[in-house]
Amino acid sequence: MLEALDLQFTILLLSNGVMIGLMYSLIALGFVLVYKATDAVNFAQGEFVMIAGFVAVGALTVAGIPLWLSILAALVAMVGFGFALERVMLRKLIGRPIIAVVMATIGLAAILRGLGPFGIFQGTRPLPLPLRDEPFILGPLFIPPIQLLGGIVSLVFLAGFGYFFLKSRKGVAMRAVADNQQVAMAMGIDVERYFGLAWAMTGVVSALGGVLWGNMLGVDVNLALVGFKVFPVVILGGLDSIPGAIIGGLIVGLVENLAAGYIDPYVGGGTKDFAPYVLMILALMIRPYGIFGKRIIERV
């Protein structure tokens, strides 16, 4: 009897981990897209998600626009934000050391989080989606509808962007830009346009992440903290790998949930928040380029 319950509990933790993990993958995808195309590490990924959440909530509750239009507004706003950010701030940093871009995104993250005390950014706002309340029950699985939706959206976009990079002319060009900017220019590829495109694609992914996570956690400044989970995901999976983002997200989701289920009772809680980072540090020691990350090709 007890064993059956135990098994049930484990399955619950696993399924929850997979779904949450896929939703981490979605956010990590935003990070990977930028890193793949521009070699820039975006420390403001979580803040992108937060801003998207606020745009959607603002449109829905303050402006009173229907939900689907609010989501569309978040998408458009984030695409615009991505383009604008590249144009105004990051284009000037092309050709500068990569640390310049890193510091710029850290600064941007601080500014965005600093919006907290102002107007709409105060307090936590719910972002209701028209989903049923009861979880789907599939055999031993209990899946909350938002997690199912999140998992499906994540998979669709991960697959879509994966296909884009692998097969399309623009995708190959974008990888070329990431590989060597100067040579890409020599081949007639308009590098700056691709940088803008990469940031805009990150905007799309962040908007979806903002709506999904905003629904689960409520929209407030702390929504940006989801961004911190991106780091263990991409370090495990590889900074520039879309399959890596999936696998990394799944690992982080599973580890988090298993830690919460099996270790928390003994230590009084909180392991969920740091277990992924322990894993990240281990990954850095053993396989610094991640599971699928590109190795530096060195010729001897």
Partner: protein, 267 residues
């Protein structure tokens, strides 16, 4: 034959202060091969980058003079515009996209060309010229040999259907036999596809064998110009670039090393 490219007395300054080219003029005729010779740091690569527009990625600027291609000035255009007009640079040091497969590398060369059916045919043409690339088409370009990478870089440039190819040191770091093979193919491309070539080389012997005309650069200036035969018979050129002394014997490197041997901080 008319001039395809005219470089007219250009001056290039890096970072607003460092004067690198001090009045360089040269011409490439339609369908010709022109060699640009000179030692390390003479300004050959800078000249090519000024033409292709890649200079601006290195914070360099053409401050005086003009570069004309088909009679239109191009030195104010970004590199992608220059490629669209028909000039492709093959950069020094076999720069391939290491993480892309050989075929994907070639496809990036066709980026400025739109039609898909043509791309397929162009791929076949490139594989025809460089059969070694055929069976490596799905390998990441970072893992193929140096000679193959140079072939890939040239083949990729060919995918853009250039009227003028700027070749920067194709012989660098390659075995003599491979160098000969690559130059033969470049010669064939020139004859069969009508691609004009501006060839920057330290290896004057092989460059002058294929070129009709040559320029010699030193410290950012053209110091000598003439048809390939005249240049290869010039006493100074024999001495300093071809490694032959006045009487035509090979000379020991030891005797010439006082000439322009400097510490290289970067390679």
């Amino acid at each position: 034959m008319g001039d395809l490219l005219t470089v007219n007395n250009i001056e290039v300054i890096y970072d607003h202060v460092i004067l690198v080219l001090k009045g360089v003029s040269l011409r490439v005729p339609e369908g010709g091969i022109v060699a640009l010779l000179g030692a390390n740091g003479a300004g050959k690569s800078t000249t090519l980058k000024a033409i292709s527009g890649l200079l601006r990625t290195e914070r360099g600027d053409v401050t005086k003079g003009a570069i004309e291609f088909h009679g239109a000035t191009i030195h104010r255009h970004p590199p992608d515009e220059v490629v669209r007009r028909g000039i492709v640079q093959v950069m020094e040091g076999r720069h391939v996209f290491e993480h892309l497969s050989v075929e994907e590398n070639l496809l990036t060369g066709a980026y400025t060309r739109r039609s898909g059916g043509e791309t397929r045919r162009d791929l076949d043409m490139v594989y025809g010229y460089f059969p070694r690339l055929t069976h490596r088409r799905n390998v990441a370009a970072g893992y193929i040999s140096g000679g193959e990478q140079q072939m890939l870089a040239i083949g990729r440039a060919l995918m853009a259907h250039p009227k003028l190819m700027l070749l920067d040191e194709p012989s660098m770091g390659l075995a003599p036999m491979l160098v000969a093979e690559i130059f033969d193919i470049v010669g064939r491309l020139n004859r069969e596809e009508g691609v004009a070539v501006l060839l920057a080389e330290q290896n004057a012997t092989i460059a002058l064998k294929h070129a009709q005309h040559g320029y010699v650069m030193e410290s950012g200036r053209i110091v000598l110009e003439g048809d390939a035969k005249t240049i290869s018979e010039n006493e100074d050129i024999k001495e300093f670039y071809l490694g032959l002394s006045g009487v035509g014997q090979r000379k020991s490197y030891r005797d010439v090393k006082h000439y322009r041997r400097r510490k290289r901080w970067l390679s």
